[in-house]
């Protein structure tokens, strides 16, 4: 199986504030952008424990907390650090091009 990955522009970098998070839908996929110490990180926006949007929860000190059951993930690595989640959330590479934030999304993993 071949995997193709494409850079997808999500929004202007200037729209993102430090310490905040921003949900996006790209086709079937839900992507979360988090700004931690002025760096932009991209993860899946769906909790790995039960279906919930992480963007409905909280971002604090680089950890995003799910609103349903309190699972916490390190947005820089996707690793679960607290709460009931056992699996990490996907992370995506990000870059800035012409003032736009872009994420590298592969075509074969729609929601993983």
């Amino acid at each position: 199986m071949t995997t193709t990955a494409e850079w997808t522009a999500l929004c202007p970098r200037a729209d993102l504030e430090n310490g905040n998070m921003y949900p996006f839908e790209v086709g079937e996929r839900r992507v979360l952008l988090c700004v931690v110490d002025d760096e932009v990180y991209a993860t899946n926006n769906v909790c790995s424990h039960a279906f919930a949007l992480l963007s409905d929860g909280w971002l604090e000190e680089g950890l995003v907390e799910c609103p349903l059951h309190g699972a916490q993930f390190d947005v820089t690595t996707g690793a679960p650090v607290m709460g009931p989640a056992d699996c990490p959330i996907n992370t995506y590479q990000t870059r800035e091009r012409d003032g736009q934030v872009e994420v590298l999304l592969s075509s074969d993993s729609t929601n993983a």
Binding site: A50, D56, W58, G70, P84
Partner: protein
């Protein structure tokens, strides 16, 4: 010689073992659990696990700390603590010395004091084995009676309705979830279950149960119901006897301070077995909360490793029933005034309970996890109730009787 022995392999014992392996990897830690196998995630057992016929056993994270052949997999129990020799004695007669002992023995189900000839139709739910049996039976039955209108009973009711069973809940009290929920919560949950077709009977003190080959009959004052099976969910009792018999101070659970210390300097306790200081409310209570059991155990493990971080988190728990995520923070039943928070959107509800001085005592809500989380954060960081919540709040005219927990 073990530096640390942990008794109990639920979320508290596991969280403590995990924190000890992180903070003090040089310590030798032995965890002794009565249940075979790796620690698992109990909350799932009364929810998704019941719905999917092939759901796998829900695991807890980081079980790799036990290696491939964990000592806890032997299902040993501890039958005695000798505080003077600092040893525990197992059911197999082994004598294990300890430097520090952590009791994370949790709780056990209260049972109905009624003996029945045929128990195959009578279910309780605590362990993964019981959940498996319950699931297999639920998927093949048409009607179920649930004894007890607490959270676990209602979770099973929701799962059974989703599987198409006819469901009757028998509650001896006059309202649902009366131990931890305020009357406002009770009526919301009642509406939720009635809207989903659950039949709920109040004032039903079960007096007799008769099971036979074709079904089971439950009798209460002047009434009876015939169903395919029954599920009993009437609360838990703390497994504090080990401590009690050893002379460690107990009072409806093992008494601990905010560091997880008991009355014996070498013995610590965490999780559902403890009676502990609640947040900064100035009261002790025993609570049933997965999150609290885990984070309190992390603090107790830190104390054992010589790091003092007081545990002041308010107890917090959640349940998922049908499409509702229901949460309860702190001890709302102890509040003397309530504010209903408006403007949260359809299907959401949040009420904040305060004491006479306006301090946060608790909160409860439907589909309001984000806001309950903001209250948890504020409380943790010694901050006042977030302004946005107060701005949207209305004091409730009639407080309703504050109910004892």
């Amino acid at each position: 010689m073990n530096d640390v022995i942990i008794v109990g392999s639920g979320v508290a014992g596991h969280s403590a073992a995990r924190e000890l392996s992180r903070l003090a990897p040089h310590l030798s830690v032995r965890i002794i659990g009565a249940e075979q196998g790796f620690p698992y995630d109990r909350p799932a057992l009364s929810k998704d696990y019941l719905l999917a016929p092939n759901a796998k056993m829900p695991t807890l994270g980081a079980v790799d700390i036990y290696g491939e052949n964990p000592a806890l997999a032997d299902g040993t129990t501890v039958v005695k603590i000798d505080r003077h020799r600092k040893t525990v004695i197992t059911g197999a007669g082994e004598v294990l010395p300890y430097r520090k002992l952590l009791l994370a023995t949790g709780s056990r189900l209260r049972k109905l004091p009624i003996v029945s000839a045929d128990n195959a139709r009578i279910h309780y739910l605590r362990t993964v084995g019981e959940a498996q049996k319950l699931r297999d039976t639920l998927h093949n039955c048409k009607s179920v009676a649930i004894v007890g209108g607490g959270f676990v009973g209602l979770e099973v009711a929701a799962a059974a309705r989703q599987l198409g069973c006819e469901v009757t809940v028998l509650e001896q009290d006059g309202r649902l979830v009366s131990r931890v929920g305020t009357p406002a919560m009770s009526s919301r949950i009642l509406n939720l279950h009635r809207a989903n077709g659950v039949n709920i009977v109040f004032g039903a003190s079960v007096m007799q149960i008769e099971a036979d080959a074709s079904g089971v009959t439950v009798y209460w004052a002047g009434s009876e119901i015939r169903t395919d099976m029954i599920v009993v969910g009437i609360g838990v009792l703390p497994n504090s006897e080990l401590a009690d018999e050893a002379g460690v101070v107990t009072d409806d659970g093992i008494l601990v301070d905010c560091h997880g210390r008991t009355s014996d300097a070498s013995i610590f306790a965490a999780g559902e077995v403890t009676n502990y200081p609640i947040g900064r409310l100035g009261v002790h209570a025993r609570t049933e909360s997965w999150t609290t059991a885990g984070s309190q155990a992390v603090v107790a493990a830190a104390t054992i490793a010589g790091e003092y971080r007081p545990f002041h988190e308010l107890p917090w728990f959640w349940t998922d029933q049908y499409d509702a995520n229901i949460q309860c923070l702190g001890l709302p039943v102890k509040a003397s005034q309530f504010f209903d928070v408006g403007g949260l959107g359809e299907g959401s509800w949040l009420t904040i309970g305060l004491d006479d001085d306006g301090n946060l005592v608790g909160a409860e809500g439907f589909n309001a996890g984000r806001y309950i989380s903001s209250l948890r954060r504020a409380d943790r960081n010694w901050q006042p109730i977030p302004h946005e919540l107060l701005k949207w709040s209305q004091p409730r005219e009639s407080v309703g009787a504050a109910v004892d927990g």
